[in-house]
Amino acid sequence: MVPRPATCDDQGVTSPSARPAPPVRRAYRPAGRRLVSGVSAGVADHLGVDTLWVRLAFTVTAVLNGVGIVAYLLLWRFLPIADDTASPGLEAAGRRGLRTARTTTWVDHTRAVAILALGAGVALALQVSGQGIAWGWLVPLTVGGAGLAVMWRGLDDVGRVSRLRWWSVARVVVGIGLVAAAAAFAVTVEGGWSALADAGVAIAVALVGLAIVAGPWIASLVTDLGAERRERVRSQERADVAAHLHDSVLQTLSLLQKYADDPATVSTVARRQERELRAWLYGGDELADSTLAVAMRAAADEVEDHHRVAVELVVVGDTPVDPDVVAVVRAAREAMVNAAKHAGVDRVDVFAEASPGVVEVFVRDRGAGFDPESVDPDRMGLRGSIMDRVRRHGGRAEVRSSPGSGTEVRLVLPRPERPSHDEPKRDEPKHQEHNPGTTDPRSEHDRV
């Protein structure tokens, strides 16, 4: 549903990485935030640093020995260009102008120009002081580089939009012109010195020019094929959306009309529909029972459905499920059911937190409450399904309640320390999928 490049290529590799493999993050050039090519923004996103530093790094290495220029051009060629993706709900809101989109601001532009001017100034100073390269080379190289940039920017746009725009084509043409001019200049300068080398250089330059000109075209042809395939997938998705709306929302609306005079049913049906739609709009492609957050969500939904109570679930962090976590989730579910049945309230607050060393779940209601000392022996739910179950799995359960002030059940499950990030051990089952939407952000920071 969400076009995120989730790849699991590394699942079978016995890498010395201790942490369960996070989804492979692929760098891309964000189409909406390009100043020139989007390379800096893409690299900055990927490394998690400010774009400013990336630009500065490129400029410094470019002035020092030209490596920056080569790296930049290579990245431009090989990083795919893509739109920033979001969940369907966010994308829809973004398209209709209801949200603020992430775009470039004048600050970005000013900074980039400032850095560029700085780099150019230093380069010029080097030239004047005689430490740079020969002027006869610098001029064609600069012109040729600029030509390349103009042309590739045009090609980026030509490859992306379905309808050709004249300025994209003009960019390509101007770019080719600049490259050709640079090549011609280089040839005449060389030719003046040595007639023999003239022909060889001309041919070499022509070949290189041809490769540079035709290479991107071929590449973009291949990309176009991919784009066509994507378009097909997109139209299928659109059909899926229509089908989904028909099966869910339309049905619910007709149900609501039918039961208009039964408030209880109306609110149950509406709530179920809201939950379903919410999961669809803002949720990821979560695999059932793959992580604590998903399992808790499922349990809360189930309780909401069967017991006509609103469960406000907040999950912080996440962890893959194993039998111990399953036990905690089941106990939490039982606690929710208890609250729904006995507390006499229409709302239960549930908070689950997965920290590196412990999983904690709190189930709280503001209902009738009871005296934990005098629990009926027949209230097996509390003792058997909650306390003993969690205890069997190495955790503990505490119940805080008094008549009139509601009940809070706390479930604590200590987690064995995961191997630290240097040990070549992985105790997670191989089939664990890590959904990008629910990945514990902490796992990226090596905190164990």
């Binding site: 969400v2 996103d45 998690g48 640093v49 400010d50 993706t85 979001a86 969940s87 709900g89 966010l90 809101a93 209709r96 102008g97 209801l98 949200r99 603020t100 919410r278 803002y282 949720g283 990821g284 406000e312 907040v314 999950v315 912080v316 962090g317 607050d349 908070f351 937190e353 709190f362 709280r364 809070e408 990008p436 939407g437 990945t439 952000p441 902490r442 990226e444 920071h445 090596d446 905190r447």
Partner: protein, 224 residues
Amino acid sequence: MTVSDPNPVVGDAQLRVVLVDDHAMFRTGVRAEITASVDVVGEAGDVDAAVEVIVRTRPDVVLLDVHLPGGGGPEVLRRLSTSAPEVRCLALSVSDAAEDVIGVIRAGARGYVTKTISGEDLVDAIGRVAAGDAVFSPRLAGFVLDAFAGHVEVAQVDSDLDRLTEREREVMRLIARGYAYKEVAKELFISPKTVETHVSSVLRKLQLSSRHELTRWANDRRLI
């Protein structure tokens, strides 16, 4: 969400509120729910109209939808920061997306509640915002805990803005568990005023922290 303050009115006058939401039906509903306790002085359905009506009426509190034609709630906040910086905004949205929630807070909203909030709780939240306090729903508290969860190297911490104190974390966890401010105060043996101080301090950190983890977190998660 929170136990109601018996009297959300500051001073004698009723609080003056502007409703900003692009769904007229929703505005009507909210107006009907809160009109007994506060004075709804204006409504708006998009960014331009919102800024205009807020600057003209200078309300105590603005109830601001996150998704709005013309750039969304954050855009309204940005424009208000120059034209009416003293106006306090409470974000109100159906969106569950962390990006939206954290985004509107960082743009300057004093709190975030979901549209399913009851009228009574909403009035209470309005009073809280008008008094200069922050309003955290359990979900927002969860997001905050997630956002500040990452380990930060000491060298990287250029100020206290980049992490929560132990006490602030405790307060956030209790709010995420569904505790009202008063219940948090009782649980931690501190005064409700202290709880409000902690929450306001968390809000400030959320708005001012330049930790790139915070933005990256919102970026990476995208979905909740």
